[in-house]
């Protein structure tokens, strides 16, 4: 394989992996704090794609032609609206089941996922929707036909993902809110006794997760240009896999898992066969879980006595 093909596959994998990572954050944070898998998270990401398109359409119809401003405004609005979805979902589907057995919120999550999917299908139609290609700029390295190319959007995906990741790690490790999150994660009852409003903290985690999914939604919509009410399903499963691979509950693990999954898919696809790339990715997951049952960066669960 030529170097430029290999480099191109690395670029492809890195982009895909960053997106998986961004969405995986939502799964991993929610699992870390309440110990449940939020199966509706993929659909929250789907919602953000719709909000992105609607925002862009509204901004352009008002005659705003400054692209950077339009993108920033769209990003902010999408994060806000999607975060509101995250908060509402937690309020409706999970908080009433706080004391219930573990399976109950899981089923509630699957129900929520179906509600979001079918709600969007009914209100927006089943057809594929899209936004025109807005940022066609491309960086090409190499000569003639042997070049490696990175589109500006792909650069944005990688940079924005890493930046969000760093900001989030800082938030969790260094701020008072982060300390409350970690306390709630370690022992919810004790945290509550010490005066932390744990319900508020759990809501905040859902909001942060949804906002991260919104960033992914905006970037994906800019990169691929099309979406439908069903995109949350496949991407959600992949992001969930990334979260488990990296160690569910671990923030850097989510990003690492996403990158490994994206890269392994792209490289296997490029060097061996596209038909079996998912088989390869999931075999990798099985192997990792055999040797490290808590994922790459996950901490073993301490039995609480």
């Amino acid at each position: 394989m030529d170097w430029h093909i290999l480099a191109q596959q690395l670029v492809n994998g890195l982009t895909l992996g960053s997106i998986y990572g961004l969405i995986a954050i939502g799964y991993t944070m929610v699992y870390g704090i309440v110990g449940m898998i939020n199966f509706a998270h993929g659909d929250v990401y789907m919602i953000s794609a719709y909000v992105t398109a609607i925002c862009l359409a509204v901004l352009f119809s008002f005659g705003i032609d400054s692209l950077p401003f339009a993108l920033l405004a769209t990003l902010a609005t999408t994060m806000l609206i999607t975060a509101a979805y995250g908060w509402t979902i937690e309020r409706i589907a999970y908080r009433p089941l706080r004391g219930a057995p573990r399976l109950a919120p899981l089923i509630s999550a699957i129900g929520m996922s179906l509600v979001l999917q079918n709600g969007v299908q009914l209100s927006q139609g089943a057809k594929t929707q899209g936004v025109p290609s807005l940022i066609p700029a491309t960086l090409r390295f190499g000569e003639g036909n042997d070049f490696v190319q990175i589109t500006l959007v792909q650069c944005m995906i990688v940079v924005v993902s890493l930046t969000s990741m760093a900001a989030l790690t800082w938030l969790i490790q260094r701020t008072s809110l982060g300390r409350q999150c970690r306390a709630t994660q370690q022992d919810r009852r004790m945290a509550a006794i010490l005066g932390i409003d744990t319900d508020r903290i759990i809501s905040t985690v859902f909001v942060i997760g949804a906002a991260m999914a919104a960033i992914a939604g905006v970037l994906v919509t800019l990169n691929y240009g099309s979406f439908d009410f069903y995109i949350g399903f496949v991407t959600g499963i992949k992001a969930f896999t990334a979260a488990v691979l990296g160690g569910i509950g671990s923030l850097p693990g989510a990003m690492l898992g996403g990158l490994i999954l994206g890269l392994s898919e792209a490289l296997f696809s490029g060097m061996v066969n596209t038909d079996y790339k998912d088989v390869f990715a999931f075999s990798l997951l099985v192997l990792v879980l055999i040797f490290r049952p808590t994922g790459l960066l996950g901490k073993p669960e301490v039995e609480k006595v």
């Binding site: 093909i5 089943a126 594929t128 991407t235 898919e265 490029g270 596209t274």
Partner: protein, 379 residues
């Protein structure tokens, strides 16, 4: 754990009772016909086309007096393009809803198992869109189609690739589904007959529902292919085309009737990505003189009858006409009637051979224009 409270139980009982009562009502003076396809899930746009087309047909037939004095009542069946769900839906339509005939299904992978269920029960089924040859090749007498076969349209693409485009290296991509892989294989078989199968440099399947095919595109680039053939639906064809163009590949792109839908322009993110792509399909249904009145009526009601909408309309027309002609709803007798008569439909007059295939399907080639529309290529 709590027990459900008494009023809630009561509510559940009342709901169940209401459902079964409404199921019984109106059974005598209507004829129930199932419309089955992907009503939810990733391919729900096709299910919507089926439902809209069949609903319009039912409305029009009912307004003209119904079938033998009975009004048509449509029953929706959702298979989500899942083979397992398709057989479950088929059984439900037969056992619970007691349908007299079925318009459906869409994905060949669903139609094939579901049609076995209908055939066992002796119920007539017409698929508006399943083009895989196997649908009518199993000797099931009550199974018909309102569309062509992939072993007709695949070879047309192969001839064009070899004779007109004079391709040197061909990449074949499919979506691993019965339809997609079937049509890609039919194309490849014809390449073999033309002694051109050594020009196939890549043959791979992508995953339905994904949007990122960049790794595959880079691989196609590495293979040096000058022509890409894709067997699958527009949902995947759109992003694939866009990513091919974005990575700077100026290859010829061909696909089949599952991709020839205006929605591919949206799925690709703009007409500039779709421009110049070739696709095989049956004649554009919205341009046939016989369909103009229906097209106008549906457009006025706010739905563009693209894709398989009019095929679903025509399928219901054929079912209604056979029931009027044979004065029964027995599948075997209806099938016999359809195989010996010509039915005037919204797609023009249609007649079927002994297998249940249309006698007069001819596929043609279409090419996408810079403005995001497609036109039939004249030779």
């Amino acid at each position: 754990m709590d027990h459900p409270s008494f009023p809630r139980c009561l509510l559940a009982v009342a709901l169940a009772g209401g459902l079964s009562l409404s199921g019984l009502a109106g059974a005598a003076d209507t004829i129930k016909i199932g419309v089955a396809g992907p009503m939810t899930g990733g391919y729900a746009a096709f299910g919507e086309q089926f439902w809209r087309g069949a609903s319009q047909a039912a409305e029009d037939i009912n307004a003209a007096g119904g079938i033998n004095g009975k009004q048509i009542e449509l029953v929706k069946g959702d298979d989500a393009c899942e083979p397992k769900q398709a057989t479950a839906v088929a059984n439900r339509l037969l056992d619970q809803d007691k349908v007299a005939a079925v318009v459906g299904h869409f994905c060949s992978s669903s139609t094939i198992p579901a049609s076995e269920v209908y055939a066992d029960a002796g119920v007539l089924v017409i698929t508006p869109g399943s083009t895989n040859p196997k649908v009518t090749e199993r000797g099931l007498v009550t199974v018909f189609r309102m569309c062509g076969r992939d072993d007709q349209q695949g070879p047309l693409a192969a001839d064009f690739i070899v004779k007109e485009l004079k391709a040197k290296k061909i990449a074949v991509v499919h979506d691993k589904d019965t339809y997609g892989q079937g049509i890609a294989d039919a194309m490849r078989d014809r390449l073999k007959e033309l002694k051109a199968d050594n020009r196939v440099v890549l043959y791979e399947g992508l995953t339905r529902g994904e949007k990122d095919f960049n790794a595959l595109v880079t691989k196609i680039k590495a293979s040096g292919a000058d022509t890409v053939y894709f067997g699958g639906l527009y949902n995947e064809a759109g992003p694939l085309l866009r990513q091919l163009r974005e990575q700077g590949l100026k290859v010829n792109f061909l696909s089949g009737d599952g991709s020839l839908d205006p929605a591919i322009v949206t799925a690709a993110g703009g007409p500039q990505f779709v421009e110049g792509a070739y696709m095989t399909s049956v004649r554009e249904a919205r341009n046939i003189p016989a369909s103009q009145a229906v097209v106008k009526k549906m457009k006025d009601a706010g739905f563009d009858p693209s894709g398989f909408t009019l095929y679903a309309y025509a399928s219901l027309q054929a079912i209604a006409d056979s029931m009027k002609g044979a004065k029964t709803s027995d599948g075997a007798k209806l099938a016999k009637w359809l195989k010996s008569h010509t039915v005037p439909t919204v797609l023009g007059p249609k007649s079927w051979d002994g297998k249940g295939d249309l006698k007069d399907t001819s596929f043609s080639l279409f090419v996408w224009e810079p403005d995001g529309t497609y036109k039939e290529m004249r030779k």
